[in-house]
């Protein structure tokens, strides 16, 4: 049995551990170790050495991100650390598992990350719908305060940290790290230009690090077991395990922590139990709604950042959505584009105006009102809503499933036009 550090103590049928139980399984040992033996620079280096990559979707090296924060006496304070627990990417439910399954693990990870960058204030930015997680985190933060893991002079290290829970009021955009900052400032969640990066000008204009929940949950384990151990957990160059998920018409949808780099086939066929009877696998969005489709030909690729990218998609959040033979790919993509168009913040032109157009074309195709030119228009959008053309990554993300659907399922699109109806109806 491979190691599952993040989910080892999470059981579907048991409530999560309270502080005592968490401590009994080795919880907060990492914090103790850091407080007594490591300076922030050493912790930063350790995380950099571990090859931990951000689990929020973009896969940026966490150690590298931290290294950009101003340190030392001259650095501006307060500095902020934010756990991005907005998880709203359709098809994604991995952070929920960690939040509801082991809240102290996240809190410990946050305190460690805060220590590494010498943050003064930490926020958990939690999506509104996770009520159970909210209650657990609130309780756990209190427990951590009571135990002296939060507040002033944590474990005698001279390090201070305040931690708050912020729950959102909807909008997928809040997960985009700079829009998240605006939301925390009580503003409309429109994204900010980068540069300046949040590390320099973040929350309230102060240096800020935003990390995904899963990313932060890895940190205590890296501290406890070392960078080499963490790298060794993985089947690939990227360190650690990954919480993968599968949803759609498979026998056992769910989420599992596995070594980074397991194959798609293993995930779908073993862990998810294969397709439901009567359904064949037609395609997969490997890492949430804003990743490119892969198909049966890709089943043996490793689910790590590099391999998925090489196959023409992105690991994204690592939670895959299965397109089955009974579901119309055009309708599937329409559903996605409806989501993205709704969730566009309305700041930049291509996304605000382009996505609703795309959505309408797909709906027309579904209804049998499509025209041959529509496919060209869709293609045009996949080209022009690409990275760099829009203000943030929402619209480019939206185009990934569309462009790959056009690539792999063009026949389906053409049939909609040719037969003037949806062949799956």
């Amino acid at each position: 049995m491979t190691e599952r550090p993040l989910t080892r103590n999470i059981y579907p049928d048991r409530p999560p551990m309270n502080l005592k139980e968490y401590e009994n399984t080795g919880g907060y040992a990492a914090l103790r170790k850091v407080c007594s033996t490591m300076d922030p620079a050493a912790l930063q280096k350790l995380v950099q050495d571990s090859n931990l990559k951000g689990r929020g979707g973009a896969g940026f090296s966490t150690g590298m991100k931290w290294s950009l924060i101003p340190m030392g006496d001259k650095a501006t304070h307060p500095k902020y650390l934010i756990a991005n627990a907005d998880e709203m990417e359709p098809g994604t439910f991995k952070d929920r598992l960690l939040l509801e399954g082991n809240p102290h693990q996240l809190i410990e990870g946050m305190i460690l990350a805060a220590y590494a960058i010498q943050a003064d204030i930490a926020y958990v930015f939690l999506r509104w719908a996770y009520h159970e997680a909210a209650a657990l985190i609130r309780k756990s933060i209190q427990e951590a305060y009571d135990a002296g893991y939060l507040g002033t002079d944590i474990l005698g290290s001279g390090f201070h940290l305040e931690m708050y829970l912020h729950t959102g009021v909807g909008r997928y955009m809040c997960g985009e790290e700079t829009a998240l900052l605006n939301a925390l400032e009580g503003k409309r969640a429109t994204p900010r230009a980068k540069p300046p990066f949040p590390q320099i000008s973040g929350l309230f204009g102060k240096p800020t690090i935003v990390n995904n929940v899963e990313t932060l949950c890895c940190v205590p384990h890296i501290v406890n077991n070392g960078a080499e151990w963490f790298k060794g957990l993985s089947y690939s160059d990227d360190g650690g395990t990954k919480v993968y998920g599968v949803s759609g018409k498979v026998k056992r949808p769910g989420a599992w922590e596995l070594p980074m780099g397991v194959t798609m086939r293993e995930l779908i066929e073993e862990h998810a139990g294969g397709m439901k009877p009567g359904y064949a696998l037609k395609g997969v969005l490997p890492g949430g709604a804003s990743t490119d489709f892969l198909t049966t030909q890709h089943l043996d690729i490793k689910m790590d950042y590099k391999s998925v990218a090489a196959a023409g998609s992105r690991l994204g959040t690592g939670t895959m959505i299965v397109l089955d033979s009974g579901t119309c790919p055009v309708g599937f993509v329409h559903n996605l584009q409806h989501f993205f168009a709704q969730e566009s913040c309305g700041w930049c032109t291509p996304c605000r105006e382009g996505l609703p157009w795309v959505e309408k074309i797909l709906l027309a195709l579904e209804k049998g009102d499509g025209k041959p030119e529509d496919i060209e228009l869709l293609q045009m959008h996949t080209q022009f809503l690409g990275p760099g053309n829009t203000f943030c990554a929402l619209a480019p993300g939206a185009m990934e499933p569309l462009q790959s659907a056009l690539k792999y399922f063009m026949e389906d699109f053409e049939q909609h036009v040719g037969h003037k109806k949806c062949p799956y109806d």
Binding site: R188, T349, E353, N389
Partner: protein
């Protein structure tokens, strides 16, 4: 200077700029929407895309927003790249998916930035087949019209209204493709800068409602460069006419003065020109037929001008040419300002201070660039609104400059600078009688009697310069404020002190001077700005003429006086009993004015004169900048000529000396300069009237002016001969020189591809910089480096006197203007006449809260 390559051609560009600014400054047409030269970049519209290449080898490049990239040495970009072009056209196609096809009925048509860019990008075929999104519009008051369906979501309106001008009641609502720009509910826009929405909005969402009442397309207007008539700042405007009516005022860019923006009084207050209350007839009173023609008037005038003492009463709202002509008619000693002693005294003090030249007086742009501002006793929000806007920019820019010291962000990166600066502000101390919206951004504010504010000022001066005396019996609050303010002013490199005449206190002017002069040092450039009441108050004050009371004394002694009153309703400026007694003593009263008022009623001879729109004239603003305002149109009533022309004819009658032709403004200015050295240089304010380019005049009408052959068809079948302008290089036709005129002669901003006002970028030396050839206007005060002469007499603290009231006029942006009130919308928005009491006085009177009426004996 970094060298960048644009489509493989090397250019030297200015450091610190973004690529869009660099391209526009080089004259390259690169479309944009959300960027604005005064507001910087936010990168939202994605219209300004270019290709950026890694190096000379890179042929693929990346699409980037030019407004969001700094120029860097050796940067390679392409504007013409097919990919970039296609993307820019696509952005327009996206915007057009929901934009109505209503150009023919849209007020913006023909001067529309969106039209410009649509044509520029080549988008012409609609592929979007679905229904358009529609919105409901809002009632935004009498000045601004709202048509939300035309919105292209560039966010400029809210960035101007809220971020730039500090307005509270316009914002962006909702999300995704439902974003909506307007108020939280229907209602009058509260910001006095709301009219700029019509110019910052790139399409027809926010438009000028007053124009709607007599709508005319930009191309059909006859335009001239004019000067705003409504306060002493002298904002540059473009005034447009059709069918003998003044129809619109838009901003005329002048980087030193108003930049890109006007206040609503200036923009909308033009309707007095079209008023029914205009004087249109020459009258000789006390006859059976009072209305007379010009020859009759001329034959009458010798009777009252020859053989009698003639005195002239000048006007702070009449041009310097008009005032000078009256001085010439009456003689220097017999020319009076037509203002009360106190006002003349105050303004004289200001003129003395500025002409001594020991301390610099700033332009509005310099105020914008100040890093600390102290306003001492002047309610600039109401008396000099665009100055208040400049002060706001100083406060915001200083805050940005502070954070830029920590994080080196370029100045154009608007959103990022705001995120970094958060709520921090530069230093502003606002001391005035009543509170104003400026208080909100002021670090320090106090409100009280003018003498008390002056005492605060003197204490500040004392703290800055201990050779100046301290204030006796100062209250703890005063000492504390003085300490804080002096400390902050000392931290500044470019502090500006602002004072004015509206509080009626000379002590304030002296105190402001002492502070500014104390701040001046080798490492600190202090400046001192004064606000005066009217558009030519400074010009009139510079004549050094005496007050109305002196004129009264003359008529009281001399029973044979003919008083010639120029554009001055004496009843507005002086107590009625004094004016009544003046008129009762005058033998003959000649009044030249534009609108009927209580003074014109007293005229024995009433002569109609041109407003700024019907005549040429030079006005001297609060910084001593002389600026020419050009005639927009020739009135069909021939008699409506400039006062100086009438006055010159009267002088000919009196002295029998003529120059042999109709007098024109250049001669007036030349004469003025000869006779009065304080006006030295003023004659060079504009090119001479015979100035031509390649033998051609500069046309007031665009090449697309339509209906010329038909517009008078109800009167004559053949096209009338175009009117001749003998006074300026401008013509009343569409023919003439088509290139770029010298800056003072720009009748409208228009360039190939740029029908909208955005064409201004073609007229600037660099985006947001001076106009080509230099901004118009001549500053008459010069910094001399003279040693300051200190003032020391500090007034006592204000103590109410038993049984006496201390009354101060309270200027209102909408309501106090003599002329602007003729605009219906402005009249409607003016507050009812009222008296404001201090809470202490109200308490002594046992006035109940909410009591509307109280009789004061």
């Amino acid at each position: 200077m970094p060298r960048i390559y644009i489509d493989n051609v090397p250019f030297e560009v200015k450091a610190g700029r973004n690529l869009l600014e660099a391209c526009l400054s080089l004259g390259i047409d690169l479309p944009y929407f959300c960027w604005h030269p005064a507001m910087g970049s936010i990168g939202a519209c994605r219209q300004c895309a270019v290709k950026v290449f890694k190096d000379a080898e890179d042929t693929k490049g990346r699409i980037m927003m030019s407004c969001m990239e700094s120029v860097k040495d050796d940067l390679r970009i392409s504007v013409c790249d097919p990919g970039a072009k296609a993307f820019r056209a696509q952005v327009i196609e996206w915007l057009m998916t929901n934009h109505p096809h209503d150009c023919p009925v849209c007020d913006e048509g023909g001067s529309c930035h969106l039209q410009d860019v649509t044509v520029m990008t080549g988008h012409d075929y609609r592929r979007y087949q679905f229904k358009k999104r529609t919105y409901t519009n809002q009632y935004l008051g009498p000045l601004i019209n709202h048509e939300m369906n035309r919105c292209i979501q560039c966010y400029r309106c809210v960035r101007f209204y809220r971020d730039y001008a500090g307005g509270k009641d316009l914002n962006v609502f909702s999300a995704h493709n439902h974003v909506y720009f307007g108020r939280e509910k229907d209602g009058v826009l509260q910001s006095p800068f709301s009219g700029n929405l019509a110019e910052v909005c790139p399409t027809g969402v926010f438009t000028d409602k007053t124009l709607k009442e007599h709508y005319t397309r930009k191309w059909d207007l006859t335009n001239a460069p004019a000067i705003c008539q409504h306060c002493s700042l002298g904002c540059n405007v473009i005034a447009g006419e059709r069918y003998g009516q003044l129809r619109s005022i838009v901003n005329r860019y002048n980087s030193e003065v108003n930049g890109y923006f006007l206040c609503d009084k200036g923009r909308f207050g033009y309707e007095f020109v079209n008023s029914e209350n205009r004087i249109t007839q020459t009258l000789i009173r006390h006859r059976t037929a009072e209305a007379v023609d010009e020859p009759t008037l001329m034959s009458h005038l010798p009777n009252i001008l020859i053989g009698h003492t003639v005195i002239g009463i000048g006007s702070p709202r009449a041009s310097i040419e008009n005032n000078y002509a009256l001085m010439e008619l009456a003689g220097r000693e017999c020319f009076y300002q037509g203002l009360p002693d106190n006002q003349v005294f105050l303004e004289q003090k200001i003129v003395d201070i500025l002409s001594a030249g020991a301390i610099h007086t700033p332009s509005l742009k310099e105020i914008e660039q100040a890093d600390a501002v102290l306003i001492l006793g002047e309610d600039i929000w109401n008396t000099a609104p665009v100055m208040a806007l400049a002060v706001r920019q100083s406060v915001m820019k200083t805050a940005a400059a502070h954070v830029q010291e920590q994080v080196p962000l370029p100045g154009w990166h608007d959103a990022a600078l705001k995120e970094l600066a958060q709520e921090s502000k530069g230093f502003l101390a606002n001391m005035s009688v009543l509170s104003s919206p400026l208080d909100e951004i002021a670090a320090c504010q106090a409100h009280g009697a003018p003498d008390d504010m002056a005492r605060l000022g003197f204490q500040i001066a004392h703290l800055l310069n201990n050779t100046l005396p301290a204030v006796d019996n100062a209250s703890a609050a005063l000492l504390q404020d003085a300490h804080l303010i002096s400390q902050q002013l000392l931290l500044a490199r470019h502090p500006v002190i602002i004072a004015g005449t509206s509080a009626g206190s000379e002590a304030l002017i002296r105190a402001a001077y002492d502070i500014a002069a104390s701040l001046q040092s080798s490492e600190r450039q202090a400046a001192l700005a004064f606000v005066l009441p009217e558009c030519n108050s400074m010009g009139l004050a510079m004549t050094g003429a005496s007050s109305f009371e002196k004129a009264l004394a003359i008529v009281q002694q001399n029973p044979d006086v003919t008083a010639v009153i120029l554009e001055n309703d004496l009843y507005r400026n002086m107590p009625a009993d004094l004016v009544d007694s003046f008129f009762s003593k005058c033998r003959q009263v000649v009044v030249l004015d534009t609108l009927h008022n209580r003074t014109t009623e007293k005229a024995d001879v009433l002569i109609p004169v041109a407003t700024f729109a019907e005549g040429d004239g030079t006005f001297i603003n609060n910084e001593g900048r002389a600026q020419r305002s050009y005639q927009v149109f020739m009135s069909p009533d021939k008699v409506l000529k400039e006062a100086f022309k009438w006055l010159f004819e009267m002088k000919v009658i009196r002295s029998a000396i003529s120059n042999g032709h109709d007098v024109h403004p250049d001669e007036m200015l030349a004469g003025l300069e000869r006779a009065y050295p304080q006006f030295k240089g003023i004659a060079a304010v504009v090119p001479p009237h015979e100035f031509r380019i390649h033998g051609a005049r500069i046309p007031r009408e665009s090449q697309r002016y339509s209906g010329r052959t038909a517009m008078q068809a109800n009167k004559a079948v053949s096209e009338p001969k175009p009117l001749q302008d003998d006074d300026s290089p401008l013509s009343f036709t569409m023919e003439g020189y088509r290139g770029m005129p010298p800056a003072p002669l720009i009748p409208y901003f228009w360039a190939p591809g740029w029908n909208s006002g955005q064409a201004v970028n073609k007229y600037q030396q660099e985006t947001g910089g001076a106009l080509k050839g230099g901004d118009p206007g001549i500053r008459l005060f010069r910094d001399t480096g003279a040693q300051p002469a200190w003032f020391q007499d500090i007034p006592d603290a204000f103590t109410p006197r038993q049984g006496k009231w201390f009354l101060l006029p309270q200027y209102q942006l909408f309501g106090s203007g003599e002329l602007s009130i003729y605009t219906k919308g402005i009249a409607a928005l003016s507050a009812a006449p009222r008296a404001i009491l201090s809470t202490r006085d109200a308490a002594t009177l046992n006035m109940a809260t909410g009591a509307a009426h109280y009789t004061v004996r």
